[in-house]
């Protein structure tokens, strides 16, 4: 039955036990080893604990006392593969309030079933118990209630698709300043978006557009500059280089953490892209886990999402949003469909993941309208959005070529490119009137030229040298002859250095009209989208697949046997008064004892851990004790002005004198919000152990 742990696992557990603060270390040692004789040799004591837990009887007793609630947490620890307490709570928060969860976790630590090290707050299962727990306790079915087969032939259209993205980009180019100062859309813009994207519109509010525009900002495909939104084309191309599936998950990740109330002030950075990649990978894992044609309980899906989060150095999703909210967003965009019976995966996702993109997706009609047949490469979508005007956003979006749209596209693409691409992408030969009009528009475009840049005027003697320098031409936007050039402002530093290298030292300052363009070398366009699933990548999903099989741990009478032994011993325990017996009974209930012999050498020193009502000094003492212990937590009930008591679990930080009262400052768990409360306002207070293994600073980091 047993399967011995490796030397390395044992050493790690040993190290963690040795790192315990003395008070805790010795209380645990006494619990399991009885009275300790001085001088204390901590490694030897740990060796005795190791010896104890290596015994088959100890293992069987410890495992027998594991109940279904314990099993749930242990399954989460195993499934999430060394999670932080926070992550386990994320997974199980629908089953526990934080107090209960914390108590359970503490209890499992005190029972030496799980542990962590002071230098690494992630939780492990006791290596001696691990095998037996895995074999007879763990139950994925307890975490993920079985799914029900549920077949639907089709699903509603998904709101956030890459077609939506480039179609929105196409429409936004019509508005030089679509936003008001507060980041909301101007009414006309909102109305027009609702009219063109009628399938996205909801309740006459542009909620969906905020989500999608913010998603574009998060992906770095749009940039916000005060009231305007600009397409970052190169960035879009980089996005387009990802697979269709990756693009979809990136988009959904961006939508999931976007505001739906206004356009956010956001500029994409490497950090944000990595974070996005992390969330996208979680969503990808989730959808890899959620099989089609099954109906799941909401709890299951939320847990799957937590379990699907890869182990990376990125900020966990929990710090950005909650699983509930994320699932709601996925439902909002109809990737998941909620029904009264549960949640299922929208079958329409299969179409979106279809990589069979249309090679010739355009039907160009002689009336200048263009029917677009998705799916098509994202880069083609960007091309369309640059040179065409969106008429209606539907399954086959309708566009129109106009002189204005052409001139817009011309600022990005050469005439030959536009014509060639239209030829390539069109399923039928380009109508002659369209071809002619393109030429006519081009003639109009090229008849007036406006070049944004820096005018460089060189005297003849410099001009000869500069003109013939092999690197110079790359920075010239237009050569007007006679030493007059329009230079690329975005590479000003480079060509100024070149001029200096040639010998024009010092360079005079630019007289006026410096370009508003930013140096794009660090812009969003330069950032890479990390791959979501690279073999051998450090990022690993926590679960590889979801099984609808398995069942919760069956009831066993092994635990009852241990209980009976302990109860029987307690009843006949000599030298113990009724209060001490009561305390010991409570500890049996908490499963802190494995053997009857432990009851004999346990020192019962009832400690006061709570205070209530008018016991002001008692409350202060408990706070001070918790502050002194550093890792203790406080449960308190605050009396509020409305009369409604508020219950908090806090990590105390400071107790300050202020006037006639004391002010307790702490951090609420699990939200980490700051709390300040007058001691007089505390109706009830109780001290809790924070963790056996994790020091406050570690806990915070976890």
């Amino acid at each position: 039955m047993t399967n011995s742990p490796t030397r390395q696992q044992i050493d790690e557990w040993k190290r963690c036990l040795l790192d315990l603060p003395d008070e805790l270390f010795f209380s645990i040692m006494k619990l399991y080893l009885g009275d300790l004789k001085t001088p204390f040799h901590k490694p030897r004591l740990v060796d005795r604990i190791i010896h104890l837990f290596s015994k088959e009887d100890t293992i069987q007793r410890a495992v027998a006392l594991i109940d279904q609630q314990d099993a749930l947490i242990l399954t989460a620890v195993e499934l999430l593969d060394r999670p932080s307490p926070q992550q386990i709570y994320q997974l199980l928060q629908d089953s526990y309030d934080y107090f209960n969860f914390h108590n359970h976790l503490m209890n499992l630590q005190e029972r030496l079933i799980i542990y962590s090290c002071s230098d690494n707050p992630l939780l492990h299962i006791n290596p001696f118990l691990h095998h037996d727990i895995r074999e007879s306790v763990l139950s994925p079915a307890a975490l993920f209630p079985p799914a029900t087969p549920y077949k639907v032939d089709s699903g509603p259209p998904i709101l956030a698709t890459e077609e939506t993205l480039w179609c929105i980009a196409a429409q936004l180019k019509n508005y030089p300043e679509p936003l008001k100062a507060d980041g909301t859309l101007k009414k006309r813009v909102g109305d027009e978006l609702q009219s063109i994207f009628s399938t996205l519109a909801e309740d006459n509010k542009p909620t969906q557009f905020y989500l999608l525009i913010n998603a574009l900002l998060k992906l770095g495909i749009l940039e916000k500059d005060r009231n305007s939104l600009q397409l970052v084309f190169d960035r879009g191309i980089k996005f387009g280089n990802k697979t269709r599936a990756e693009r979809l998950y990136y988009l959904w990740a961006a939508v999931c953490i976007s505001s739906d109330e206004s356009v956010e002030d956001f500029s994409a950075s490497n950090t944000s892209i990595n974070q996005l990649s992390h969330i996208a990978a979680s969503i990808e894992n989730l959808f890899a886990t959620v099989p089609q044609e099954y109906l799941f309980e909401r709890t299951s899906v939320e847990r799957m999402l937590v379990a699907a989060e890869p182990v990376t150095s990125e900020k966990p999703i929990a710090e950005l949003t909650t699983p509930t909210r994320l699932i709601e967003r996925l439902q909002h965009i109809r990737a998941l469909i909620g029904s009264s019976q549960g949640i299922y995966r929208n079958p329409a996702i299969a179409d979106l993941l279809n990589d069979q993109e249309e090679k010739t997706p355009l039907l160009v009609h002689p009336d200048f309208t263009i029917t677009v047949k998705p799916p098509l490469p994202f880069e083609v979508g960007l091309f369309i959005s640059s040179v065409m005007q969106l008429k209606s956003f539907t399954a086959y979006p309708q566009f129109e070529m106009t002189r204005t749209s052409y001139l817009h596209g011309r600022s990005r693409f050469a005439f030959d490119t536009i014509q060639q691409r239209l030829d390539e992408l069109s399923a039928t030969p380009l109508p002659q009137n369209i071809r002619f009009s393109l030429e006519s528009w081009e003639s109009h475009y090229s008849s007036v030229v406006m070049i944004e840049g820096i005018t460089l005027s060189l005297a003849e003697h410099w001009d000869h040298m500069v003109r013939n320098h092999p690197d110079f031409a790359g920075y010239v936007l237009r050569d007007f002859g006679n030493g007059i050039y329009v230079m690329d402002a975005s590479h000003r530093k480079n060509w100024q250095t070149l001029l200096q290298d040639i010998g024009i030292i010092p360079l005079p300052p630019v007289e006026s009209g410096t370009s508003s363009q930013q140096d794009t070398s660090v812009s969003a366009a330069a950032q890479q989208f990390p791959s979501l699933s690279t073999p051998g990548s450090e990022e690993q999903p926590r679960v590889n697949s979801f099984s609808t099989e398995g069942s919760p741990k069956p009831p066993s009478d092994a635990d009852q046997k241990v209980y009976q032994e302990l109860q029987s011993e307690l009843e006949h325990l000599p030298h113990a008064n009724s209060n001490q017996k009561k305390e010991l009974a409570a500890q049996i209930e908490k499963k802190l004892f494995l053997f009857p012999s432990q009851l004999h050498h346990t020192q019962i020193s009832p400690s006061v851990n709570e205070a209530r009502g008018i016991n002001y000094s008692g409350k202060v003492r408990i706070i001070q004790q918790a502050l002194q212990a550093e890792w203790d937590l406080l449960e308190l009930v605050e009396r509020t002005a409305s009369g409604k008591p508020l219950r908090h679990l806090i990590r105390p930080q400071e107790l300050q004198k202020s006037g006639n009262d004391l002010l307790l400052r702490g951090v609420k768990l699990p939200t980490n919000e700051e709390l300040k409360v007058w001691v007089q306002k505390i109706g009830y207070i109780k001290k809790w152990k924070g963790s056996l293994f994790i020091q406050p600073q570690d806990y915070k980091q976890s």
Binding site: D153, L363, P366, F368, T394, A395, N433
Partner: protein
């Protein structure tokens, strides 16, 4: 049902209630037949036709007995992808409104009952100010005067409450009309399949709820025949309204030529004559004439005082605003609208539908062209530069002025002459907007000119000479835009037009669509790099949506 499910259906149902029909799909024609029952054809370019489901088209289907389920099922049957839920909802919701308001015969011949089963709708309508003056509440609805039938229906449609009109239509005085199998000119004559379908779509089963509607057929496809067939089906006194006197005469000639009615049974009601006969053909112009701006329309009595059982509105898209009003009054009479281009630049298409009747039948232009029922037309846009002498006036003019300078570009004159020379065997219409320009061109061509100022008699003479081949080229202003039947005209040269009017462009093309042995040619001359280019593009929209292709060239290339 499932066995007939195509692997790749010809329909793409869009979330905005439009439906794309892939015309190259082998099942496209079957799908089109179903679509015609509940959707309107919006565009029919070469590869992909666009239909649209509208409240009116659905209510029309509902009045023909189709349920929401049947409609959705037919869409699903041909759909390439699953039908968007919102479209399904729209169909159900829209159809569910039909039949909640039923118009029935009242207790006396001047009153109608609007029967309403839903008390909430009755309460809502009772509070609606625009309807209060027409409606008298009863226990289950309202009473209204017979003359307000059209107004009420029109207002209720705007409120999204279609009225199921079960009040019987007036039969009118009986008149037996038969179409001949050999015309009086001696040619064989049969009603074409689509003409018969169109007439029957209008007439229905002759029961309440049928007998009013609009037929949309291309220019040159024989809408007059549809009108005559409708008269024969209704068998009643008929008033026909046409846009001008020449069109009135054409109607009379056609009826005389192709029916067994003697000439004396057909009257003309125009500026020249005021005849009342069992079939009377009049102009919109004479009906809307009044002695002063505030006065009554004396000729409206033509509608009211005679026992008409059918009124035909030719070129119904031209219906003038005062006729809307009188049409609202005469809802007890069968009404047939005929048009090729139900596009109004004033956006009042819906009013035409609600007063005359919904679209009952249409057919893509290119489909009739393919079957040889209308001529194949080759469209050219010729770009001509603006002469330097006009460039400064152009630059300093306002937008209207710019358009006029571009439209009257003298460079167009020589091109027109050259085109006329190139088509030396064809019958040619030169069409324009500005009299000065047309006069100059007519003079240069030595061709007769018809404008609004040309007396009707003179116009008829010129048209007749053109038909006989004595005149090969005629120059016409916009008076010839509509309803002028010049069967041999095969070339039209448009030298200027009414800004971006889509229906004008289509109607002008329509002048050369009578089927003939050779192709027809339509030229439009446009000044390069001016606002006229943009207006030209807009003008061409209707035709390009019907699948016509314009070949654009610089003059001289």
């Amino acid at each position: 049902m499932e066995n007939s499910q195509p692997e790749v259906g010809p329909l793409i149902v869009q979330g905005d209630n439009s439906i794309l029909l892939d015309v190259h799909n082998p099942q496209a024609e079957e799908a089109r037949a179903d679509l015609g029952l509940f959707a309107e054809l919006e565009k029919s370019p070469e590869h992909m036709h666009t239909y649209r489901i509208t409240p009116l088209s659905l209510w029309n289907a509902a009045s023909a007995g189709y349920t929401a389920n049947e409609i959705s099922e037919r869409i699903r049957k041909w759909s390439r992808f699953s039908m968007p839920e919102n479209v399904d909802y729209f169909i159900n919701d829209t159809i569910s409104r039909f039949g909640k308001l039923i118009l029935r015969e009242g207790k006396d011949s001047n009153t109608l009952e609007l029967h309403i089963t839903d008390p909430l709708i009755q309460a809502e309508l009772q509070e609606y100010n625009r309807l209060k003056k027409y409606l008298t509440p009863t226990e289950n609805g309202f009473l209204l005067d017979l003359v307000n039938r059209g107004t009420i229906k029109s207002e209720l449609i705007k409120l999204s409450y279609p009225v199921k009109d079960e009040a019987p239509l007036k039969e009118g005085a009986p008149l037996t009309v038969n179409l001949l199998t050999k015309t009086r000119d001696g040619y064989d004559f049969t009603v074409r399949g689509y003409q018969e379908e169109a007439a029957r779509a209008f007439y229905g089963n002759g029961q309440p709820g049928t007998g009013f509607g609009t037929i949309v057929l291309p220019c040159g496809s024989g809408k007059t025949i549809v009108g005559m067939r409708a008269i024969a089906l209704a068998g009643t006194y008929t008033l026909i309204l046409a846009p001008n006197t020449a069109a009135v005469h054409q109607w009379i000639d056609e009826i005389v030529d192709k029916t067994d009615l003697p000439r004396e049974q057909i009257g003309e009601y125009t500026g020249d004559k005021k005849e009342f006969r069992p079939i009377t053909v009049g102009t919109y112009q004479i009906l809307t004439w009044r002695p002063d701006k505030e006065g009554i329309f004396p000729h409206f009595n033509l509608f009211r005082n005679y026992p008409w059982g059918l009124i035909i509105y030719d070129e119904v898209h031209l219906l003038p605003a005062p006729i809307f009003r009188v049409t609202a009054e005469i809802q007890a009479i069968r009404r047939l609208g005929l048009t090729a281009t139900l596009v109004r630049e004033d956006g009042r298409e819906d009013e035409v539908f609600s007063l005359v009747g919904p679209k009952k039948y249409d057919v893509p232009w290119k489909e009739l062209e393919a079957k040889g029922w209308i001529a194949e037309a080759i469209c050219h846009e010729i770009r001509v530069p603006l002469p330097q002498a006009s460039s400064i006036p152009y630059a300093t003019a306002d937008k209207r002025g710019k358009y006029r300078i571009a439209a009257e570009n003298p460079g167009k004159d020589s091109i027109t002459l050259q085109l006329v020379q190139n088509h030396h065997e064809d019958h040619i219409l030169v069409i324009g907007q500005y009299i000065q320009q047309l006069t100059k061109v007519a003079k240069a061509l030595g061709a007769p000119l018809i404008t609004g100022k040309t007396p009707n008699k003179k116009r008829e003479e010129i048209y007749a000479a053109f038909r006989r081949g004595e005149e090969r080229v005629i120059v016409v202003s916009k008076v010839a835009n509509f309803a002028i039947d010049l069967p041999d005209a095969s070339v039209a040269i448009q030298i200027s037009g009414t800004f971006g009017s889509r229906q004008e462009e289509a109607q002008r093309l329509g002048r050369i669509l009578r089927p003939k042995e050779n192709n027809s040619y339509f030229y439009t001359i446009v000044t390069q790099h001016t606002v006229e280019e943009q207006f030209a593009m807009n003008r061409q929209k209707f035709l390009t949506e019907q699948g016509y292709k314009y070949h654009i060239d610089f003059w001289g290339n």
